[in-house]
Subunit: 188 residues, 2 copies
DNA sequence: GTCTACATTTTACAAATGTTAAAAAATAGA
DNA sequence: TCTATTTTTTAACATTTGTAAAATGTAGAC
């Protein structure tokens, strides 16, 4: 397991001692495309890292779902409100492809955080990086119009464009599918 | 200093040992209204906690500034990209009132993170909480129209409505000042 | 192949928001 | 208090985006 974890970029900053500790608790799991790994309104007790596959996080509204995050190989999947506050989360996470994941129980992870300094700081950086990315997306919503956001998305996530339904990309970009379709036809 | 820090909610989860460690490095600083405490495009080496006052974080565009965050008493002010990547950040942070702050050098803070387990986990939670708040704001941009976002803002941040210029609130809500003005006059 | 379900595009119209400019109101300093 | 400056509002018009419904495209089951 330790060898497998070593291949994940997220773990590359960790020393062998931290890695071997983690390896004791991580477990490989496989899930089919369409699996809802994390459910909104529930306390979800697992922390996952995606080895292969694609995932999306979304929230349910009255008439629509809003996809606000995509996960790719090496990314962390979890219910942040479960993780931080031990309370039901706001996000569903769906696997958009058959996936292989590494799974650890939050209980174990927190135990490790409280035992191992390097791991606690590693966990800190995971959240900090995600925060910067999210804050930048929020800022882009104001600075850039939908066309620019779509163009940026194509450049920054060419692999997602190919593999993810446009309706999900539309809501990720903050527009309806009709608007995205208009943008796409104007680009031809 | 330790007694002062104890009054900040952010520190309430810390034990006396962690707090006294921190207290050795934190320093009280005063700044006038209008001070730009954190500059975009620069590596900013300090981590601040606001004791009294109000602050806003904004990014500069070609024709406009986008305010994407407000800080109040007890909140953390820093350049996340300086903090995490030791690289120039994207945010300016301006004090909107005369303020009292606690200041610590990032170098010292990281030293503490690498010495003290409880502090490393405390730093983790700071970022995690901010992440949840930011992610929720991003989701709200899609689910709610400007009128709803304004109403929510009034309810959730009544103190900011009173003390912050409407032009800043407009860009925080993701609309122009003209649109916010229309919303406000329709609410009367 | 044909059927079915689902995804995407297109169309026409409606609603929301942006742009620009100007007026009005509020505020800070002298 | 008065002036100068800034903030906020208002107006007219342009643009973007949303909504609903129909048309088209796509993939898999049979």
């Amino acid at each position: 397991m330790q060898e497998k974890l070593k291949n994940i970029k997220l773990f590359s900053v960790l020393g062998d001692d931290a890695l071997s500790l983690l390896a004791n608790y991580f477990k490989v799991v496989n899930h089919k495309k369409g699996t809802i790994l994390i459910h909104a309104e529930k306390v979800e007790p697992y922390f996952y890292i995606l080895e292969t596959g694609i995932a999306r996080a979304y929230s349910d509204g009255e008439n629509q779902q809003i996809t606000f995050w995509f996960g790719q190989a090496g990314d962390v999947l979890l219910s942040y409100n479960s993780y931080i506050n031990n309370k039901p989360g706001y996000e569903n996470i769906e696997l958009l492809e058959d996936s292989v994941l590494y799974q650890i129980h939050l209980h174990d992870l927190f135990e490790l955080y409280n035992q191992h300094l390097a791991l606690a700081n590693w966990g800190r950086k995971i959240a900090e990086r995600e925060l910067i990315a999210t804050e930048n997306r929020l800022i882009d919503r104001s600075f850039k119009d939908a066309k620019e956001r779509y163009r940026d998305f194509i450049v920054q996530s060419p692999n997602l464009i190919k593999r993810v339904a446009l309706k999900h990309i539309a809501s990720y970009l903050g527009v309806t599918q009709v608007t995205l379709s208009r943008i796409r036809s104007a680009c031809k």
